[in-house]
Symmetry: C2
Subunit: 398 residues, 2 copies
């Protein structure tokens, strides 16, 4: 049965498609590996799962459960719309040796998904991580009842053939980290991909030193809010930019030295006023004109960690983005700008997660989440994120 | 006497200005330090010399010689014009203890001067290096008759108060390198600033490995032609781009694996054809759209050494340059782009020069120079350089 996302409020109405024989129209699920085209090394791979082939069936039983998943009905133009998503059902196959059946408990939406969607085909499932519970297991390493963190994508039930131990990791599946009493959802945020993006991106790419000045854009987001707080732990003068006055107040409560509303102030002016000794590190989540002005304000040997470019994510991907670039600053000030995806730090993954956890437990990092209830509401949560409606990490309780 | 540059052919006609009392109109020379605004660390400082104060005089004798220097009459708009320069005379002061009087033998014009000129004031002398002969010395470290390499700028005679030994270097003054029979002019090219720009920029910023693919833009220039040859020494597949078919032939004769005329071919197509395994290193002399296309063709963890941006040097410096930027490639492929000025490698300066010399003597580097005869012809040499008329290093024999 293909389900069509029509109108959505707090919950979601699911209406049948026009198929005459709903059950026979079930989209059979087959082996699917999301692998961005042409990225053979250091790729950002998500949603890797390996199924045995499935057959269409009308029989629902414990081994042939119906899963739901969000697929795209067309490529987003500008800001995604609810009608760009379809919620479809699929029949899960009977569990084989080495496989597990998991139920999503917490899901995540993140800005990178907007860029990643350009590489999907129409009908492909949206990618992303989950905290999931093992409902049924034929793999001794992940017993029934335990939790996993896995890149299952936007879906509620998943059968996975567990990869060999040496191929497991944050980008396929791993056991829940030792949370030490912290909320499970943190495994998708401050103790997951966004947490390590902030931790490694700042410490390994920006390489901040005590007394230096750090600028963070999208500072009230899941990553930015952590970056600024880690910057304080490292002894930096931290300047954060966000888009609402509420967010600005929140950033100040987190300990940012300066927090500015980029929509109501002038960037060159506020940089001059608050980065009185110049900018040494810039954690860049937005790109474009913002980066141009920060580059101008940078000191010699400044470092830019290029984490995201949300300013252009909603542009037409077929057209080059024309942005101002200050080559004279880049060259004469020996500025280093480095794009990065957190996958590159895979071998140190759990060291990063554990460091973040310990800082939280020590009271050095404050965490805020914007929660959405209901798996069905993932598209709204995603659109809200891209509209900047969230404060901190956006998570969805299934 | 202020001399006005009017018409220039092979030599230059010097015509008197309208001053009624030529000698009394001599521009008195005072202590001048060219220091790009706001660059306190790692700055590219040129033309540093310290004079005792001068007095206007009509007396010419050995201690009060007339020097000539090129100053700018206005800031360049687009390609510089001959009328943007004035050749003016100045009276040199009597030599004091610790000072030397030098006569230019070889001078240099380089692309960076176009960008640097934006930071000059009207009436300022053009900056740059020289190989000069010590005519008269009151400093034991630089005896009469010896040669020096110094940043005296576009001038024929210079009095310098020699800085203390610990402050001497390639950006102020140093003795001629041990040339081992190579031409003196090489101290301004392959064994000077451009040589070390190529050597350190490639080896320290691009960090090429055997078997990788290196792309070089402005490959027939002083720096680019060396970069490609060093890339071959490192075992790279080297692809060079230049703007005339003659230059392409020359690059092939230097051992470049592929040499393409960017004016008559399509960059994305030639990159695909010649960088069949993708681009790992890009030595960027041009910026802009060229960089966009190379970035697209790069492999994960590609490195861009941003050495120059000649594609935008002639643009209006007051307006931001709008250029296409491929953020998705930059981020998802973990690409590092680093601007650099060769001054950062100061402590290893002579190691670089000596390495270049040894490679030349071993036959691993071929050197070509485009020579201009006559100090008076510096503006033409400079304009020709910016028009891409040269092959290899442009030097001026005084």
């Amino acid at each position: 049965m293909t389900l069509c996302l029509s109108t959505l409020s707090r919950g979601m109405r699911l209406s049948c498609s026009t198929s005459t024989s709903p059950i026979s129209q079930v989209t059979a699920f087959s082996s699917k590996v999301f692998s961005p085209k042409g990225f053979t090394k250091g790729q950002y791979s998500v949603g890797i799962y390996h199924f045995s082939s499935t057959t269409r069936t009308t029989t629902l039983n414990q081994d042939k459960m119906q899963a739901r998943k969000f697929v795209i009905t067309k490529h987003f133009q500008g800001l995604p719309k609810l009608s760009d998503f379809n919620l479809v059902e699929e029949t899960l196959p009977a569990l084989q040796d080495g496989e597990i059946l998991c139920k999503a408990e917490w899901l995540t939406v993140d800005p990178y998904m907007r860029a990643a969607s350009d590489r999907l085909k129409v009908g492909d499932q949206m990618p992303g991580g989950q905290v999931a519970r093992v409902l049924k297991s034929r793999c001794a390493d992940f017993p029934e009842g335990t939790q996993v963190v896995a890149n299952f994508g936007w879906r509620d039930l998943t059968v996975m053939k567990v990869p060999p131990a040496e191929k497991r990791g944050f980008d396929s599946i791993h056991a829940m980290p030792e949370m030490k009493g912290l909320p499970d959802s943190y495994a998708l945020g401050c103790m997951g991909m966004p947490g390590n993006t902030a931790y490694f991106g700042l410490t390994r790419i920006c390489e901040p030193k005590a007394g230096e000045t750090l600028v963070v854009s999208s500072a009230a987001g899941a990553v930015g809010s952590l970056v600024g707080q880690i910057g304080k732990i490292y002894g930096c003068n931290v300047i954060g930019y966000a888009g609402t006055d509420d967010k600005i107040e929140w950033l100040k409560s987190l300990g940012f030295d300066h927090a500015l509303n980029y929509k109501t102030t002038e960037l060159p002016k506020t940089l001059k006023e608050n980065a009185t000794k110049g900018v040494d590190c810039y954690f860049d989540n937005v790109g474009g004109e913002f980066t141009f002005h920060v580059t101008r304000a940078m000191n010699p040997f400044g470092r830019i960690a290029l984490c995201g470019a949300i300013s252009i994510y909603n542009n037409d991907p077929r057209k080059p983005n024309l942005v101002p670039v200050d080559y004279v600053s880049m060259i004469y000030k020996n500025i280093r700008q480095e794009g990065f995806v957190v996958t590159r730090f895979a071998k140190d993954w759990f060291a990063g997660i554990n460091q973040m956890r310990d800082w939280i437990l020590e009271g050095k990092l404050k965490i805020e989440e914007t929660k959405t209830i209901g798996f069905e509401n993932m598209p709204q949560a995603f659109i809200g994120l891209l509209e900047g409606k969230n404060t901190g990490k956006v998570v969805i309780q299934a």
